[in-house]
């Protein structure tokens, strides 16, 4: 099979699994869980681009996931409350008698929807300009992005009156007029999320096969060399980082109607690391690997936590260490290995070592 045909077959099978098999096989509860995992998969597609292809170990994607999630949740809370009313938690804590100014625009559905994606991208653009222009990279970039996730969660916790603090924005009832307690509508949310994942995979596929994708790999492997060819690597990395942030924001926005809550615990350091673990397990430099890994790890977390709740943390640590030491290409590299054995084809740009 030619690579092109294989790609189309891959997309076809994925679509079939997501749109036909899963809704038929899974009950409402499990399908709801899958919807949540698919949101993580969307984040993972972005991390695959930034980390796998761009060498940027983005350990703070929770920030962008959270920006998208809060933007969506703020709108849904306002819509739940009705025109002119305050969201329930604001009146509950009794500190506010008027809507904070920065909440007001989110009453507009168009603004809120655009903000779920554009706000994370804008923040990533500003951060990226500072970070990449100063040539911060490798472990320093990872630590910095992790610190940002911690800072963002702490900031949200501190603003109890306007962000719901530790609780976050909870108990979301409706989604643009649809009642989220109705199983049919929850199913619709699942289909929206599955469509989004497929579109993001398509976008990542096009970026990876484009000239830009080749350039990104070149920057990952030899950033200094690229300068001597007339490119500014900061700009090349910035594009991947901003795209990854947009995907994380979209995922956060879709997570809210799927799960009904967004809170600091869902976007801080630990979830940010879990995003990356999924990508590492799946294979960061491949197209489908990060998404598959994210779903597998999220599924394993649920399955293990249902049986032995205390064991998950240790298992999670192992999941991060083992693939990086023994299987740097992740699950995806197993497929590639088999393929190479059957036909001696030149490998796609893969990653065999952890970027320094």
């Amino acid at each position: 099979m030619s690579p092109r045909l294989r790609t189309f077959a891959g997309f076809g099978i994925t679509a079939l699994l997501l749109f036909a098999v899963a809704p038929l096989v899974l009950g409402d509860f499990r399908l709801g869980l899958l919807a949540k995992y698919l949101c993580f998969a969307i984040v993972a597609v972005g991390i695959g681009l930034a980390w796998g292809r761009g060498g940027m170990l983005a350990l703070g994607q929770g920030v962008f996931f959270g920006l998208g999630g809060y933007a969506m949740a703020m709108h849904l809370k306002l819509a739940d409350a009705g025109p002119g009313e305050l969201p329930d938690f604001m009146t509950l804590y009794g500190q506010l008698d008027a809507l904070p100014w920065w909440w007001a625009p989110f009453a507009n559905p168009v603004f809120a929807l655009l903000a779920t994606v554009l706000l994370p991208m804008l923040v990533a653009l500003l951060l990226g300009l500072l970070i990449f222009r100063r040539r911060v990279r490798g472990a320093y970039f990872a630590i910095l992005s992790q610190a940002l996730a911690a800072a963002f969660a702490i900031l949200l916790i501190g603003q109890q009156g306007t962000t719901g603090g530790t609780n976050g924005l909870t108990d979301i009832q409706g989604f643009f007029g649809y009642d989220l307690n109705d199983p049919v509508n929850r199913r619709m949310i699942y289909f929206i999320i599955a469509t989004a994942l497929l579109l993001m995979l398509l976008a990542a596929w096009q970026l990876m096969r484009s000239r830009y994708g080749e350039l990104l790999v070149a920057v990952r492997d030899a950033e200094e060399r690229v300068r001597f060819l007339g490119y500014d690597p900061a700009n090349v990395k910035l594009v991947a980082y901003v795209v990854a942030a947009g995907m994380a924001g979209l995922a956060g926005a879709l997570f809210v109607p799927a799960v009904g809550i967004i809170s600091p615990a869902l976007i801080g350091v630990v979830p940010s690391i879990e995003f990356v673990i999924g990508v590492a397990v799946g294979g960061r430099a491949s197209l489908a690997g990060p998404a598959i890994g994210a779903i597998a790890v999220a599924w394993a977390k649920t399955a293990l936590s249902e049986r032995v709740p205390s064991a998950w943390t240790y298992f999670e640590g192992l999941l991060f260490v083992l693939p990086i030491v023994f299987l740097p290409g992740g699950i995806a590299s197993l497929v590639r290995l088999r393929r190479r054995r059957t036909a001696e084809a030149p490998a796609a740009p893969a990653l065999e070592k952890v970027p320094s």
Binding site: Q206, S210, R211, E214, R225, R227
Partner: protein, 243 residues
């Protein structure tokens, strides 16, 4: 004047003077070899010209002032270089390597599309550096000499008008050296070439002019014969083996 003009170039690392007032004029179309003992400052001079290390003095090329510009801005002015250990993108194919080198001026739309076919300048460079047969191989699988040629090919598609080659034939076989020497002749037809080299035999055969550096300064300059006849050069460099 056209060509490369270096005046009073000084580079100091933490108090150590690596370049101590270098003056160098390389006219357009010249093939200039720069030789000198280890630590003479040859590579540092290329680093300074290409913006990799901070330097004072004056460096001009085709009327443009180079010092103080960023590395990628200097590259865009038509200055290209290779490295002692070939620096190619090992996981990308030869074709992809060359295509990237051709591309800093591409517009965003063309960057977001996949490459279709072989751009003409890339095809020409593949022929010139004799890598057409391996164009779909990952660059990491190439032989050492082929990697050096690939780097030179990248300079060609980059449309560099000043080529700074840092020991291009180090570690090459005899045949590869001959091929590289011929390549230098082809390159210099419409470009200025500056080569750092240790191989005296290679220098005698392919250099048009020679600059000898010693301890961060230019010691001697001229044709191969003139330089070899210079007693100061024999003392610090050639005298130890070649004369």
């Amino acid at each position: 004047m056209t060509g490369l003009s270096v005046r009073d170039l000084r580079v100091v690392f933490d108090g150590f003077v690596a370049l101590d007032g270098v003056d160098l004029e390389v006219p357009e179309g010249d093939v200039r070899f720069v030789i000198g003992p280890n630590g003479a400052g040859k590579t540092t001079m290329i680093d300074a010209i290409t913006g990799l290390v901070k330097a004072t003095g004056h460096v001009g090329f085709d009327g443009q002032d180079l010092l103080g510009r960023k590395v990628h801005r200097i590259a865009r002015l038509g200055i290209g270089r290779t490295f002692q250990t070939a620096a190619v993108f090992e996981e990308l194919t030869v074709l992809q390597n060359l295509d990237i080198a051709a591309g800093w001026g591409r517009r965003a739309v063309s960057l977001l599309r996949a490459r279709r076919g072989v751009p003409p300048e890339v095809g020409k460079a593949l022929e010139t550096v004799r890598l057409s047969a391996v164009r779909d191989q990952p660059a990491g699988t190439l032989a050492h000499g082929q990697k050096q040629w690939l780097e030179i090919g990248m300079l060609l598609v980059q449309d560099a008008r000043l080529l700074l080659l840092d020991e291009p034939v180090a570690g090459m076989s005899h045949d590869e050296r001959d091929a590289t020497g011929e390549l230098l002749g082809v390159l210099s037809r419409d470009r200025t070439v500056l080569v750092i080299e240790h191989d005296m035999d290679f220098l005698r055969r392919y250099a048009r002019t020679v600059t000898v550096m010693h301890a961060g300064k230019v010691l001697s300059e001229g044709s191969v014969a003139e330089v070899q006849a210079d007693p100061r050069v024999q003392e610090v460099y050639l005298g130890r083996g070649a004369s």
